[in-house]
Symmetry: C2
Subunit: 323 residues, 2 copies
């Protein structure tokens, strides 16, 4: 099942169910007004959403206008982003000239969750000189999770899988990291691909608590990466257990994988510019690739192994704030 | 004006206006259902809240049961905590054996905002061995703030001032700091004193963008600190401008001062245990004071210079999660 959120002038939008081809939809506001409420009441409403999905696959519904959509969760109470791909971590240590981190426990920070950009929103930044970078990743949305949950138990709380662009400002990031306090200025609002999907929608590409499909990344229309989600060093259930060690997780918590990255980056490319700069630093002693400029575009599409695109596509332009 | 939130079985509770002596209240749900909505609609509703406040001072209203209250904002979309007292930072570097940080820019992390404990809630933690500590601080709640706001402009967005206990787990904190990602496990939900107050309620104790009153801290009924808010190295407007450099701040964002701490700690005491342990390390080479045990209590009361207690009192017991 695929779910999306349609603009209605209010922050949380209207819940819609989307057909498997991403072309049609049915309003689901009679089942739950918005996706956050749907997550809070999942057990009681999931079958009603399933009926709408079946109606769509039987040919019902209306044409879906991609421009009418918000992010699946336009806002939520909690966003915790992991960094579960070790290749990404190793390359970022080169990029930031920072010390190696302990790989035995997940890395995770708490990010801005009051706003997620829609897949087609222009994304404003105050200054081109801040090192504007994208980070392609996958994430999960969970039901309420009790403090102290084990990774084995955590899997059952996953309700939906999403695809995310975790916008990052690279000239600020290492300064904030050195404080130990994590990122505020270096991590503005993220963008989320239009469709949030249930695990069954991903078929065999969901295995070992990971989305093992690919993520295709294009920068200004040119191929930048075709990376694969299977190299997560920690599964989503392990990330959930990490997050819930000392807190109950509120229903609607979104947890990210961190930038998708592969050991075979020479073949696969990357899902962020900073990695490419690190690879250039390793090869040539200095980075050659610049960060994004105003007017640049980035697109990101998750791919199942059958070639389908369960999450739809993020396609955005970077603009100057206030323009 | 003092505002509080009364339990109604729903997460956001009911808005009430509270008398200046903290003894009586009037329901304000006809003005705004809850405090988060009140902040979102502040300009249009503040005069109606003022009428209720005047009615209370004229002797109206009903008796306020402190146990009936939630935190003023039981949840909000964003919680950003600064660390604006340099004495605290310097002592924490001793406690954690960490490198000095750059004092020229504010320190700030994004914390859990989906839940704030009420002032009288027991506070559960999974394990006594995690180094359970309190951190007494002040904070502000702001209206929507545009990206790029200056500190001069930021002052006008402050709607309310609050008093906070930022619960911290000290055995995890330095491990998470070393990653540069900031705290997730080391910073569970905070507690907030019962009353959120407008600036005029603080009189001359609100100056230079700081609450310059004191915070009285007791641990298990014994005096632990009587610290003063005037030594903030960055004012609240400066913290707001820091937070808003690359993001719009959503209405209802809460921004904290970090642990109140003074250079004259030998006379004033402290607002967290970790500082006392650092002072012992400096004096004796090793800490003597243990962190909190299950069953321990902490109380915190902000004091105006006239001896009044604008925020009410936090008085809590630490318990084992699941007990």
């Amino acid at each position: 099942m695929r779910l999306a959120t349609r603009k209605n002038g209010a922050p949380d939008g209207d819940l819609v169910v989307v057909s498997q081809d991403g072309q049609r939809c049915l309003p689901a506001t009679k089942v739950a007004p918005n996706l956050l409420t749907a997550i809070e009441r999942w057990e009681e409403i999931v079958s009603a959403l399933g009926y709408l999905s079946a109606e769509l696959e039987a040919g019902g519904g209306e044409l879906l206008d991609p421009e009418s959509l918000l992010a699946p969760l336009p806002r939520t109470w909690q966003w915790l982003d992991g960094s579960a791909f070790h290749t990404h971590g190793e390359l970022m240590q080169v990029a930031f000239n920072s010390a190696p981190t302990d790989n035995s426990r997940p890395l995770m920070y708490q990010g801005l969750s009051d706003r997620f950009y829609a897949a087609t929103d222009p994304v404003p930044f105050p200054d081109e000189g801040l090192g504007i970078d994208f980070e392609g990743e996958f994430g999960v949305i969970v039901d309420a999770v009790p403090m102290g949950v084990t990774a084995d138990e955590a899997a059952k709380y996953i309700r939906l899988v999403v695809q995310i662009n975790d916008w990052s400002l690279r000239t600020i990031a290492p300064i904030e990291m050195q404080t130990g306090f994590g990122w505020v200025q270096a991590k503005p609002a993220c963008s989320v691909a239009p469709f949030a999907v249930t695990l069954d929608e991903l078929g065999a590409d969901w295995r070992d608590g990971r989305f093992c499909g690919q993520l295709q990344v294009e920068w200004n229309g040119r191929g930048f990466g075709l990376v694969c989600g299977d190299e997560m060093a920690f599964s989503f259930p392990e990330l959930i257990a990490h997050a819930a060690r000392t807190r109950d997780l509120v229903a609607g918590t979104m947890i990210g994988s961190g930038t998708v990255s592969n050991r075979e980056y020479a073949q696969r490319g990357s899902a962020c510019i900073s990695e490419v700069r690190a690879i250039e630093m390793i090869a040539n002693g200095a980075p050659q690739t610049s960060f994004m400029a105003f007017g640049d575009t980035v697109s990101m599409t998750g791919l199942s192994s059958d070639g389908s695109t369960p999450f739809g596509t993020i396609r955005q332009t970077v603009i100057k704030a206030g323009s």
